[in-house]
Symmetry: C2
Amino acid sequence: MPQDSKGKTVLDPFGTSVVADYERLYKEFGIEPFKPFLSKVPNPSMYMRRGIVFGHRDFGGILNAMQRREEFAVLSGIKPTGEFHLGTLMTAKEIIYFQQQGGKTFYCIADIEAYEDNKIPFEKSEKIAVDNVADMLALGLDPKQAYIYRQSKEVRVKDLAIIFGRAVTLATMKAIYGERHIGLYLSALIQAGDILLPQIEDFGGPKPTVIPVGIDQDPHIRFTRDLAQRFHRKYRFILPSSTLHKLMKGLDGSPKMSKRQMNYFTLHDKPETIAERISNAFTGGRATIKEQRELGGIPEICPVYENCLFHFVEDDDEITKIYHDCKTGKLLCGEHKKQAIERVLKFVKEHRRRKKRLIDKAQKILQVE
Amino acid sequence: MPQDSKGKTVLDPFGTSVVADYERLYKEFGIEPFKPFLSKVPNPSMYMRRGIVFGHRDFGGILNAMQRREEFAVLSGIKPTGEFHLGTLMTAKEIIYFQQQGGKTFYCIADIEAYEDNKIPFEKSEKIAVDNVADMLALGLDPKQAYIYRQSKEVRVKDLAIIFGRAVTLATMKAIYGERHIGLYLSALIQAGDILLPQIEDFGGPKPTVIPVGIDQDPHIRFTRDLAQRFHRKYRFILPSSTLHKLMKGLDGSPKMSKRQMNYFTLHDKPETIAERISNAFTGGRATIKEQRELGGIPEICPVYENCLFHFVEDDDEITKIYHDCKTGKLLCGEHKKQAIERVLKFVKEHRRRKKRLIDKAQKILQVE
């Protein structure tokens, strides 16, 4: 539980129980806390306001560009292995946020990584990619102002990977990715190519670029920053910046969403499945109703609260109210789950309705027939 | 020295002193001796006749195609790191030979390998490549019947490398190439892509393909044959065949040509340089003229003889005569060097004359301005 400087637990609707771990990241890995920037960002995103974006690398350059309305780029992507879930949805929203703040937008379908790491054949990832891009469009990505591409079709990304290869020792690869097959190392080089793509001549040369990612992706960012430095003389790269968001827990309270544990849902699961998974979710509730009325719940460890905080309650006052109602024992888990299910199903229904009409457009964008 | 089954030294104008080592290759690495095929090849090349092509992998499939006038392909290439020398000239002649026997011809400029392994920037290797291709044309390669390409510009080769990557463990790479940077491993995958390029749909699908190379390149062939097997289901690859030629010594008698030791010449060195290098060459001569008249020379260890055998005396009877004249002490080293210099300079002069007019054509083929 978060504590203040006197060791007293701080009530923070946007806190989590693992803040201590994030503090460690600041110290050990040179990640900077995002909080000091919050008041300076012209129009901070929900994730920024709520501390979900908790860290960054070199965000200063992006902030400057945003404040002065100068050119900057945003790039992130998706590994086309399946349908959008609440994790991929986070990155999606962040890209769209930076697009709306004026960033040149790059959305990468990491189909080479899906092939190398997850054995997804390109014929299959192509179909998934169309679906993923339709999700992006439904969420509000403006395709006219974005470069949406598949790694497998983007020669410039492959060529950057080839250029970078010479500077990467086996020791570096093993340190970051462990002892893996060569394809995986190759896909790491490809990803570095993605991250620096917005800065090549064809896209107008060097520019501040922000890569919004989950904290688990930070090693890629560090790796690519090293390469940007190494090849500075040739390309004049500006070291890419990142915003780093917290990771969502599984609905069973375990630290990761996992297909095998079926502890999450996608935006395209059946409403019954979604309702069932949320109904069966672990919560921050107490052993008995009586106890909960007296002590209050623990939203900090509750994945249902987290779903609402990260996605389904957009109004800050409203989520604060839920937090306090839970803390004070007023809102019980059953009732909150019911509300949450309603919110999720409403969002999902509306999203699918919008998305349905965008499949054709997604196919066109990806040049898939 | 070669010996027969009774341990008696065999007089063989086409033998070398290291036949024993080649025998070892047959046993340890599964390379097959080429000799049994010699009488079956419709129109054997000089290298085949002279035992310079001493081994192969799966040449049977190519032989069948040659005999039945069925489709087969030949692919080999050059790493564009400098001017043609007598080593690169060997592969060049072999490609042209197989083209003249009806093979679909692929000539690969391995500029990615030159970058990863030799740090040659692409801007530089582009110029070298034009020069190398002009050499090929001057030597008789028919560009209308050949696909000449640079790795860096051939997306299909890169894509094969990406496909293959997943099947290659780090252990395999280390076993073949040692502990190297990732770019080198990547260029090994690219080379496998080259070797299998003739068999993809765009080039008419699976077909017997022969890769004429020096014995030092055999690990690439084995590596690619493994990959062809692994991806057989997807591409129906026929395992690529190879012919394996002996390597040329340095003019100082050391086993390798080496830039640092300046123990070889290129086709574009000044005539004085070429003459000087041959004049100063190590030979198989004896300590005194008297001794040599009595015992004869040792052409098997003589790099000047080797130059003639591999390149500059095309008539088999003529080279046999030189061999015997040396063996019997009739032809002394000074005289032979003089003859060799004349032959080389004549060839080089004629070659350059032809080549000069082909630079433009080479530029067009490589789409270089």
